[in-house]
Symmetry: C2
Subunit: 352 residues, 2 copies
DNA sequence: CTTTTCTGCACAATCGATGGTGCAATGACT
DNA sequence: AGTCATTGCACCATCGATTGTGCAGAAAAG
């Protein structure tokens, strides 16, 4: 309320008002004033003036001078998916609590876009970067490297920077075992009763497929290659794969493993076009957790990846500085059907 | 590959390499060189050098000088919710296509946090701000105003800046009518068979409740106040409300309107604790669209808000500059049960 | 051949904050 | 009183880009 001025106050304005020099004002306002032996009284005076005039530092100027910006980036494949959006939510909270500013951007799983986006972030002198689910983590790594930007990979590992990923193999094993056991309650399960849909040529998919196949072979004795149906991370392609299977067999597999909630959306598209009988007794495992996906009209086992822990670990690694390009595994958890987990939203105060 | 140097090239580096002055280099690289009558040959030379050395402008320096940053902000209540995350997705795409950089942040529906976050954004000299679902849009407006920052409200209207919101009244009418008609297929519906859960003291909730009540009164003749159960935007509170109703009545209402997908998550939490019979024949309307929510084991009518159109309209208003603080309504669409709509993800190329 | 008009560019101030350096005033000590 | 350490602060270069201004040389006009 104090200033009618349209422009934001700068340290020079406060310098004039207080009679002190700009550098003194700067020191007071950025907290380094004790080191600079500024008198307490002077500091008080300046701080009062600053409050009165609603001073806030120009972070571009600060960033320019100090070649740091207080920005921490998170590169995502996409936003509108519960896994990544809850990762964004945890990321924000943690960045904020460290007094920095989160910058969340998506690059649509396009390697070229990924590099371009990171170039842009670098132009803003971001301090650190989390690279989540990048199609080409090592390509992004090189860009970061050239700019001296500290970074970690999340969710999909690279070979050149430290990576923190879900233990996809173990997760897939748990999930596969769960759906097999559940399906066997309804009668013996043969190897062609169990399929896997989704995924593509990335590390996560490979590991999940490996876990799936290992458990399936162990429990069912075999795993014909036709039972693995990679469809990429696209609802449309996944729907097509279900449709193709359905045309060939007149029904869906009794049980199947879906590689991600994005692929599970493909199943929804298929379902929308078919009557309820089509899927009355299927058993589904989905490698991702979605609170509504868990309550579909058939049993859906899900895997909840611990994105919060992954982010935490990421900061730990960045803080440790120059960790080796090791891959850290974070254990996900199996979520039985019809389960509503709490999420980051629950941390919010929402009275009334 | 050309430079082994660790540091990023600046216009001064290129100035030395090219023999031209820094200002010439700057003009060439920012496109203003024709206006400055730089020879084509000179421009070419500099551009080649720039490519060779992987030059990218330091956007903090540019921003400092020009007091613009190329950043466009989107303030969200939360990330991990399909409505807001798909808004973030559309926002990103549109900002990118305008050659700017999106900055998406959430403020957890906390008015104080909202203002603080916006202060931070202002410190980075963002050029424009979209304020989505703010608890206190006018409080945020004042902060923006003081900094001369152009902004619009999305989803929840303010009185001081142009707002673009969903036509909540009409949407609620459509939704209410749909669930009433569907419920009546199973036999006559009395006024206490139809409830509304969720929402709080904000404009959207008011309008939705108004629409609900108007249609309910028109079609069912009455609407006892007890049928309106505001629970805030919290899954936990919503679950508690369902639990309370269930304890009192031994069942859920035959049909009910849920104010948002966040509240629908509260319903999931309730369901998780009760056997299937509890909700075998309920009819639900949810004011929000979620692809999995649409396939729950009971009919769920949903409202899809057109966040893409809202963002587009927002840019139109900002471009027009100084629009009056009018509220623009965007019509949402009714989504019948078991419907899988396409979303921003479908724009992605995902071959293989 | 001189005067005017363009061309093509260099110079220097500037955006706001930071941090090294230096210096006057004060107090402590011999 | 003279030396020295300490306190408290001002000065100034600097980060990398933008932009108004000015000026030399070439071309055009007279």
């Amino acid at each position: 309320m104090a200033n009618i001025s349209k422009k934001k106050a700068t340290i020079y304005d406060l310098s004039i008002l207080s009679g002190a020099s700009a550098s003194t004002v700067s020191a007071v306002l950025n907290g380094s004033w004790r080191k600079r032996r500024i008198k307490e009284a002077t500091a008080q005076l300046i701080q009062n003036l600053a409050n009165e005039h609603g001073y806030t530092a120009n972070l571009q100027a600060r960033g320019l001078r100090s070649s740091r910006s207080g920005l921490v980036g998170l590169l995502l494949p996409v936003h509108d998916n519960r896994y990544f959006s809850s990762m964004a939510q945890s990321f924000e909270a943690q960045v904020r609590s460290r007094g920095q500013c989160p910058l969340v951007v998506s690059a649509c799983r396009d390697p070229e876009e990924e590099r371009k986006v990171v170039e842009t972030l670098i132009s803003y002198s971001i301090d650190e970067l989390f690279i989540a689910g990048a199609t080409d983590p090592d390509g992004v790594h090189k860009v970061c490297e050239k700019a001296g930007l500290k970074h970690v990979n999340i969710d999909l590992p690279g070979t050149l920077a430290p990576s923190i990923i879900s233990d996809n193999y173990e997760g897939a094993r748990m999930l596969t075992q769960a759906i097999i056991e559940r399906a066997q309650e309804d009668g013996p399960l043969s190897p062609d009763d169990l399929y896997l849909f989704g995924g593509r040529n990335d590390h996560a998919s490979h590991e999940r497929i490996r876990g799936f196949r290992d458990v399936k072979r162990a429990l069912l004795g075999a795993d014909p290659d036709v039972c693995i149906q990679p469809t990429g991370y696209s609802p449309a392609m996944t729907a097509r794969a279900f449709e193709a299977f359905y045309e060939g067999h007149g029904k869906l597999p009794r049980a199947f493993f879906v590689n991600s909630s994005i692929n599970l959306e493909g199943l929804m598209r298929f379902l929308a076009l078919h009557p309820h009988e089509t899927f009355a007794d299927i058993i589904v495992g989905c490698y991702d957790y979605d609170p509504f996906g868990s309550f579909l009209p058939f049993p859906v086992f899900m895997i909840r990846q611990d994105s919060e822990a992954m982010i935490t670990k990421g900061f730990a690694i960045l803080d440790a500085d120059r960790g080796p390009p090791i891959t850290h595994l974070v254990r996900p958890t199996l979520v039985p059907p019809r389960t509503a987990l709490t999420g980051p939203l629950d941390a919010l105060k929402d009275i009334e």
